[in-house]
Amino acid sequence: MKILLVADLHYALKQFDWLLSEAPHYDVVVMAGDFLDLSSLATLEAQIVVVNTYLKRIAEKTQLVVCSGNHDLEAEEEGERVASWIRSLGGTRICRDGQHVLTGNTLISALPWWDGPLTKTAVRDQLARDAEARPEAGSWIWAHHAPPADSGLSWGGSRSYGDSDLVQWIEAFRPDIVFSGHVHQAPFISDGAWADQISGAWCFNMGQQPGPIPSHIAVSLEADEAIWLSQMGLSRVSLSGHGSPTSLDALPDWF
């Protein structure tokens, strides 16, 4: 199974165009939040129509998994900001906030951005439910916008912008892989990282870069390998090992 991870597209339409053209080459595309851009000239309402159109088109090409980020919260329910537009996404090949999808023997859970105790409890409850659906011999992957706290994945240069609850959830539920975004600069700065192992789970943040191609991570579960493609070059990590990422001169055969 070949999985593509992006996040933090922030209404960069050329990056959405790139994703649309790349999607058919992957079994699953994971978009880990921050679809919208709060500082855009376009209103959030307009952005939501545009992004919805892209998501439906991507889901026509492959299985799509989407989770909300802090820029995606356009509504308020019971005192908490929520991404109701993501929860309203329909379609058989879109797995969104609060849902999971089983592809082969890989379970993928889409977890919403939590703005308060109600959504945080809902995430915890979802993980407990999804753990029951976890295949005995297979992988469990999470899509969660904020990366784990106190990791290079969430290092912003002066402090961590990560989620300490996520660290506890990883420890409690032991997923195999966690896909995040949120901290744009983390993979590009000193003491930052695009891959980190926490309680046995490989956690990723591909970071954000300008231009028509978003920085992204491709994973082959068969090859047990993840690669990071960005303006910094090419880097890899073995999912079955415990080593640090190493740079690559050429793309692997599976890619």
Binding site: E45, Q47, N70, L73, A146
Partner: protein
């Protein structure tokens, strides 16, 4: 936000079964519908452009105000209750709050479309590939219904 349902409470109600059309693209129009409960899908040239579930959503107003045929088909996807108004100009004249609500609705759609285009111009100064779906996006945008804005983000969230 205006309590649109209270403003429409004296208008008669009509029930629609799932699959039944409230409005059909190309028909003469001249009638307003205000969604009370249920879910509808809006289609244009056979393509779905929006699903609407918000009570108070207004349909048929463009056709009424511009005296044009109905621009999109609105079909119930669940049992639907909708207020209807067959004399909309009298209703507008006698209900300034409803008229103001409709004006805001139209203004917000226009604002969305124009900000979208303004941003598009910025992002695509050098390329044209996104323009292939611009008509589809505009089609969906004009069917949007306004929603209440959430409060400002939390100031005590260490992740922000």
């Amino acid at each position: 936000m205006t309590d649109i349902m209270a403003l429409c409470s004296r208008l008669p109600l009509q029930d629609f079964a799932a699959g039944e059309a409230l409005l059909t693209e190309g028909d003469p129009g001249g009638v307003l519908f205000i969604l009370k409960e249920g879910s509808v899908v809006v289609t244009k040239n056979g393509a779905e452009v929006a699903q609407v579930t918000e009570p108070g959503a207004v349909f048929g107003e463009m056709s009424v105000l511009l005296e044009l045929p109905i621009s999109a088909t609105v079909t119930a996807v669940s049992p639907v209750k909708a207020h209807y108004c067959t004399d909309p100009f009298d209703f507008f004249a006698g209900n300034p709050d409803f008229s103001l609500h409709t004006a805001r609705l139209l203004a917000s759609r226009l604002h969305n479309a124009t900000t979208y285009l303004a941003d598009l111009k910025l992002q695509f100064e050098d390329r044209s590939d996104h323009f292939g779906i611009m008509d589809q996006i505009l089609g969906a945008m004009v069917e949007q219904q306004p929603k209440a804005r959430p409060r400002q983000r939390r100031s005590d969230d260490p992740r922000l």
